[in-house]
């Protein structure tokens, strides 16, 4: 990213802002005082260990989880039902039965109007939109296969197309890289980076490993111990910063362009 666009972006208002979000689950305070913002066209990595609260945070943004405190703002106003269409979502793990009578293109078609009542009559315009969305994610080869029979990486692409076809301004992906081989991982990351850049879609992607994202991430939101730290990777991922966040000593080691977070003594 050039200096100039970076400058431009910091001047922009946040598309999404979380202010002092706290979440209580099963009587336990899972997250407290979470504050961060996401700007237009930015790629944000939501990083943290298992159970840190990444899925919970995404569910709060989606309106699926009521926070116990704080607020979610979209374009500076509190999140409401009409914001649903601005957010595309790819859930963490879908178990799709191989017998499910949905082809890849049917899943993408549901992204267009699956939340509406009534019939979706086929039209050439509709078909074009679906084909385009499938092409954008490189899923045209298996457009007519049942989703339940696709591999994890193939399903991931179809679900991204499902989320994108309604032209959201924000795309939330929960662990889309889990279970992917190296090649698919790189392809999906490159695809999402391109979407953020070219279509100005804000991408918020959760992962427990930040390394595959280092090349595309504009910002990191690091979740641990019920709190978040946010900023550029260099600002956030330091031994001091993460030690403070985790509440116990951790070492950050950089080797061969990879970042390793290891528990210290």
């Amino acid at each position: 990213m050039s200096q100039e666009t970076a400058q431009h972006k910091t001047e922009q208002a946040d598309l999404l802002k979380l202010e002092g979000i706290g979440v209580r689950l099963g009587g336990r305070l899972v997250l407290s005082d979470v504050t961060f913002g996401i700007r237009k066209g930015e790629f944000t990595g939501l990083i943290g260990p298992n159970g840190a609260g990444k899925t919970t945070l995404l569910r709060v943004i989606l309106g699926l989880q009521e926070p116990s405190g704080g607020q979610v703002l979209i374009d500076g106003e509190p999140r409401q039902a009409h914001h649903n269409s601005s957010i595309g979502y790819v859930p963490q793990k879908l178990v799709i039965d191989p017998d499910m009578p949905l082809r890849a293109r049917d899943v993408v078609s549901l992204g267009l109007d699956g939340h509406r009542l009534g019939f979706g009559f086929p039209s050439s315009r509709r078909r074009e939109l679906i084909d385009m969305a499938l092409r954008d994610v490189g899923a045209e080869k298996f457009a007519d296969a049942r989703v339940g029979e696709l591999s994890g990486g193939e399903q991931q692409r179809v679900l991204i197309a499902h989320a994108l076809i309604s032209r959201p301004r924000m795309l939330l992906l929960d662990e889309p890289l889990a279970n992917l081989d190296l090649k698919s991982e790189q392809e999906i990351v490159a695809l999402l980076g391109k979407l953020a850049r070219d279509n100005e879609i804000s991408v918020l992607l959760s992962a427990h490993d930040m390394n595959p994202l280092l090349s595309v991430m504009d910002r990191i939101v690091y979740v641990a111990n019920g709190h978040v730290a946010t900023g550029s990777t260099d600002e956030v991922v330091t031994s001091e910063g993460l030690t403070r966040l985790y509440g116990h000593h951790v070492d950050v080691v950089r080797v061969h362009n990879r970042v390793l977070v290891v528990a210290g003594e």
Partner: protein
């Protein structure tokens, strides 16, 4: 064809009623059954059928047409199942187990009392195992209307139901009231089960609901085709069953036709088993992409 289509088949009033009602019931069960299978609600369908038995036998006892008993009990049960939460597996199993036991116990009592009153076992048999040849022509308009309402409701909800079965969270995130949709679906299911109970009996009604749908899901890939194939195979099994039952008047023991429900259920099951005879789906890799090294399961 003469050996199959006995002369006088279509001239018979009860046969024409059976073909009409059977066709409607098969279409409704076929379309709705696809979603029952996708949503893994066969258990709910079966529970509704059990409770419907109570309603049907109760209605018979007080001299009402059993369809109204099936329908009232089915819809009440659907509401109850929603209230105790069919989603929560553990609570569901225990609670429904208890409710179903009570319902079938009451059905046994009603059927017994009914038999005492009329001193025939014919009515009990009709409630439990149905008979399309004794459907009273007065109820036909109500049966057609109920079938139309259920099919229309599910057709209108089809996209939302598919999105919800893909992922309830995905649907919720798009603003779908998943619970309300589930309730509406359960009511449509109750209507469909009641219709099916009239046609082939309360005990067998799930066969017509699940069988054709399961067959269709093995043969088709898209939702619209699955619904069409399910409805068609259900109609085929029902109509062929009616024809065979009509013919069976001449079979031993002479003078008594075999129960039509028997033929329908056998044909439904045969159709399902036939799908296993087909060659296995796709042996070759679908695309070069799939052959990529260590692709995840």
């Amino acid at each position: 064809m003469h050996f199959l289509f006995e002369p006088g088949l279509l001239a018979s009033g009860p046969v024409r009623t059976a073909l009409l009602v059977g066709g409607i019931v098969a279409v409704a069960s076929g379309v709705i059954g696809v979603f029952t299978v996708i949503r893994s609600q066969s258990f709910a369908g079966h529970s509704l059928a059990d409770v419907a038995t109570t309603g049907g036998s109760g209605a018979f006892l007080v001299g009402l047409n059993q369809f109204w008993g099936f329908l009232a009990a089915g819809i009440a049960a659907a509401g109850l199942m929603e209230a105790i939460g069919v989603q929560r597996r553990r609570g569901r199993d225990v609670a429904t187990g208890v409710v179903l036991g009570a319902a079938l116990g009451a059905a046994a009592l009603f059927l017994y009392l009914g038999t005492q009153q009329t001193s025939t076992t014919g009515a009990s048999f009709t409630i439990l195992f149905g008979s399309m040849f004794v459907i009273s022509p007065d109820t036909v308009p109500a049966l057609i209307a109920s079938g139309a309402v259920a099919v229309l409701a599910v057709a209108v909800l089809a996209r939302v139901l598919l999105l919800t079965s893909l992922s309830p969270d995905l649907a919720r995130a798009r603003g779908v009231n998943v619970r309300l949709v589930g309730m509406a679906y359960l009511i449509a299911l109750a209507i469909s089960v009641s219709l099916s109970a009239v046609a082939i009996g309360a005990v067998l009604s799930t066969a017509l609901l699940i069988g054709p749908a399961a067959t269709a899901l093995r043969l088709t890939k898209s939702p619209v085709r699955a619904m069409a194939a399910s409805a068609l195979s259900g109609v085929a099994a029902t109509w062929l069953g009616i024809v065979l039952a009509y013919d069976s008047d001449d079979w031993p023991p002479h003078g008594h036709g075999w129960p039509v429900s028997f033929f329908v259920v056998v044909l439904v099951v045969a159709g399902y088993l036939l799908t296993y005879v087909r060659r296995p789906r796709r042996l070759a890799p679908r695309s070069p992409h799939e052959g990529a090294e260590c692709s995840p399961a």
